[in-house]
Subunit: 243 residues, 2 copies
Amino acid sequence: MPQNIYDDPGFFDGYSRLPRSLHGLHGAPEWEAVRAMLPELRGAHILDLGCGFGAFDRWAAEQGAQQVIGIDLSERMLRRARELAQHPAVEFRIGDMARLDIAERDFDLVYSALAFHYVEDFPGLCRTIRSKLRDAGRLVATVEHPIFSAPRHDEWLERDGRPVWPLDSYLEEGLRTRNWFADGVIKYHRTIGTYVNALVDNGFRLTRLIEWGPDARQIDEHPEWARERDRPPFLLFAAEAIS
Amino acid sequence: MPQNIYDDPGFFDGYSRLPRSLHGLHGAPEWEAVRAMLPELRGAHILDLGCGFGAFDRWAAEQGAQQVIGIDLSERMLRRARELAQHPAVEFRIGDMARLDIAERDFDLVYSALAFHYVEDFPGLCRTIRSKLRDAGRLVATVEHPIFSAPRHDEWLERDGRPVWPLDSYLEEGLRTRNWFADGVIKYHRTIGTYVNALVDNGFRLTRLIEWGPDARQIDEHPEWARERDRPPFLLFAAEAIS
């Protein structure tokens, strides 16, 4: 079984107070960039892997999606997702995306926000996702940027009075253990090349790759975000299922 | 006119003593990974952008390529390339890849090693290259890895007795000035996302993306290369021209 840190009470409390948890999609600074990668949602059948509190799923239903299925490991997360989303098009199910066990297929869109880096076997996940998409269906996903996940130590250093990110171990893929709201949160570091090649080798054409950082307007509003441009926190990608 | 540092005598002397200059393709540690990305060369028409001393061009002719045209800015480099390559299939021409002025088209392969990071307008270069390839022709290229080119300072720091790479400015694309065999060598930093999206938007399908570092065998032979796995020096990519 994969680690289900989201059911740890301390982790859940901390995670629940994140801006993205409190304010949904608009609490996620990368949201506008993600939104620009999405296909038309009206009438779409959508699968959301690692749906959390279901903010995307509620929003997609409001955009006219015909069916939105959100999958998550955490019963606590799903309980809140179900309280918040009362739309008939939206449904939440407990499940592990790495061993996806749902009957539905031919989805128009598989979406996933900041969840794939908890999955050890990314090529296997690509095959699973491809099998659930119709031809020309889309995958739109975000993950922790590998520059963010790589180092042994994730505290900034200083050089000449400016922050520098202490990068190392970039090419050493695999397990990373972090203390983030709880001790020993397990993630998997892999390079951008590994993400891209796994898609290319398993039935996808890459259509967009964005190394996301805040723009000037966002830094005006949140000056403490400036250093995120030194080391991008998120990697965003879109791909099309080919036959 | 772009900077032509290769005709600077000090730079030329230093560059000429690099293992990859002295020993050709086998002096370049990433060569085997590049070679694995190449299509069949027998009978192929090949354009090499930034050919330098022409090691690839000589090798491609030996593999049976029908025509190999090497382009470079530096008259000094081309003089040596012409001395070394006496194969009738190989031809060297002075030129600027950013304003490519050759009549030939319908190439099977455009190849380029460690040259695109000297070009400011990469989307424009992609359009030029696409216009010179037949449909389903290939682009195989290497560039400095953006993690390598990004920082203001490119000297390693130390943390707990191990090297760390002082990454900053990753998302700030544009000019970088380095002292490498000569003062003020000009390069252009751009992110992996920018490389990938320029290809996708200008008639290419990305087929392979490799963030290259030495393998265990190479580190056994050159222990001083170990830290290159902390921060990959080269980005390799292959793409197919789509119609």
